[in-house]
């Protein structure tokens, strides 16, 4: 099972096993990774599953779609490596991917 390495808002490091076929958000939420709030459960309606993906790994992800782009625009401190974790599907080549959870979720 691919491992994902989260840095939580407090600076804590959490390594979790993420089963194939679910989303990064779901893996984080099931394990209770701090700061991945994910209110809408992956409907792309809340932007509270915002994470920063290690830039070196971005190319392995499907690019953002229009809806995700729009949701991220008003998220808290969006950056070039911002993603909605509910839009990222776990695949084998994400094994080891470092992901940082922002200090806050929601609007700035």
């Amino acid at each position: 099972m691919p491992k994902i390495v989260f840095t939580e808002p407090g600076g804590g490091r959490r390594e979790i096993e993420a089963p194939l076929g679910i989303t990064l958000m779901e893996a984080a939420r099931q394990h209770g990774v701090q700061g991945v709030v994910a209110q809408c459960g992956g409907a792309c309606a809340c932007a509270t599953c915002h994470v920063y993906v290690d830039p070196a790994w971005l190319a392995r992800l499907e690019p953002r779609e229009e809806m995700e782009e729009a949701m991220l625009e008003t998220a808290w401190e969006p950056r070039d490596n911002s993603r909605l974790s509910c839009q990222i599907h776990i695949t084998a080549d994400l094994d080891g991917m470092p992901v940082t959870v922002p200090q806050r979720q929601g609007q700035g």
Partner: protein, 404 residues
């Protein structure tokens, strides 16, 4: 000292309260009583991807069991609370167990409103609220099966879209003159009616169901106007009623929901409530509301959890909501009731538009169809009570956040 907190109801609100209590430092005994046997799970997929089979059951729970163990949460699942003795601060479960508390949080949710016309209890007539309701419906969603949905609200329409995608012949019967009439503008109703029709759903408004007919099983749905619709399976989606018996029997004030203040407190100093079961003040809109949404259950439960620990935090949020029907996303933010003006942004024919509700120049609510940008901008503009420039607002080439 608050050494024991009991939560009744393991849905969206109950699960969130647990999370907030533990993350914010409650170290005492924490017990969750829920009558459904499953770990707390999300309901929205029940009319969407879980119903269609695209989403597996293990993706529904909010958290793994390990999370509850790790956070020392005593789960009493599959157990119903049948009596609340507020004076003794004691809850009795159906199996006779008694539990005492220092603080109690009621997250009882809501129940599907039942039809009471003749034939309403025939086999093949279903409601959709919990996981237990899904398998018998799924079993009937076969290609060409004739599915009649009673009620053109969002749950009925989501179920209609799912059934249609699975190849069923679907008819939606709505009593009002348009779909989702209590929650959206006529232009949005019209858009969704057209979308459903374009996908082959038979939408019939202005019709009242009077009789469910069949020999030992549902066969036809009969309407007051004489219409008769052949049905292999019926899904009833005519709204929900707040679950309040436990509270009202204990002497707590209930009026379309358990009455709470902005701190989620009932009239009893030790008892709080959150989620679909509450009648609560919306501070932003200055009136009492009862909301059925993930957002409200989540935010109210979060506030309730903090107040349970005597941190005085008012539940003061602008509510929002979403619904998925076919490939359309409806996003609603705010409450439109007090508006005195309405502005349409964009052209419904383009499949992406929004309806903005104003009171003077203040934005009260937005219904966005496939328009996440307007929705996200509106969340902030409404919360901040930003005064808008109405001319700019009407020009959809100008971003909503710039229409000031």
């Amino acid at each position: 000292m608050i050494s024991t907190i009991l939560i009744i109801g393991g849905g969206q609100a109950g699960a969130q309260a647990i999370d907030t209590l533990r993350r914010e430092g409650f170290a005492g005994r924490l017990v969750l009583i829920g009558d459904e046997p499953e770990l707390p799970y999300q309901r929205p997929p029940l009319s969407k991807k879980y119903l269609s089979g695209e989403m597996a059951a293990d993706r529904l729970p909010f958290r793994h069991r390990a999370f509850y163990d790790e956070h020392r949460v005593e789960l009493k699942l599959g157990k119903r609370a049948v009596r609340l003795d507020a004076a003794a601060r004691q809850v009795t479960l159906a199996d006779g167990e008694n539990l005492t508390y220092d603080r109690l949080l009621l997250c009882l949710g809501a129940e599907s409103r039942r039809l009471n016309c003749p034939g309403a209890t025939l086999p093949g007539v279903h409601y959709l609220r919990g996981l237990i309701d899904v398998p018998p419906i799924q079993a009937g969603l076969k290609p060409q099966a004739r599915i009649v949905i009673i009620g053109g609200g969002y749950i009925g329409l989501e179920a209609a879209a799912t059934a249609r995608k699975m190849g069923c012949e679907v008819t939606v019967l709505e009593m009002a003159d348009r779909l989702m009439n209590r929650v959206v503008a006529p232009s949005v109703s019209r858009y969704f009616a057209e979308e459903h029709r374009a996908h082959g759903v038979n939408i019939i408004c202005d019709t009242r169901v009077v009789h469910l007919a069949g020999q030992g099983r549902i066969e036809r749905v009969v309407c007051a106007d004489g219409g008769s619709h052949a049905a292999d399976l019926v899904i009833v989606g005519v709204g929900a009623i707040a679950t309040t018996e436990l509270a009202s029997a204990a002497g707590l004030a209930c009026d379309n929901g358990i009455v709470v203040d902005e701190y989620c407190r009932t009239g009893d100093a030790a008892i709080y409530a959150a989620g679909d079961c509450t009648n609560h003040p919306s501070l932003h809109f200055g009136r009492r509301v009862r909301l059925e949404s993930v957002d409200n259950a989540f935010e109210q439960a979060k506030a309730a959890a903090l107040n349970l620990m005597d941190r005085s935090v008012a539940h003061d949020r602008v509510p929002w909501f979403w619904s998925d029907q076919f490939d359309n996303k409806l996003l609603i933010v705010g409450l439109s009731q007090d508006h005195d003006g309405q502005v349409l942004r964009g052209d419904p024919a383009s499949r992406s538009f929004s309806v903005c509700y104003l009171k003077g120049r203040e934005l009260l609510a937005v219904e966005a169809v496939n328009h996440s940008k307007d929705y996200m901008a509106a969340r902030k503009l409404i919360a901040d009570r930003t005064l808008l420039n109405v001319d700019k607002l009407a020009d959809s080439a100008i971003a909503l956040k710039e229409a000031i």
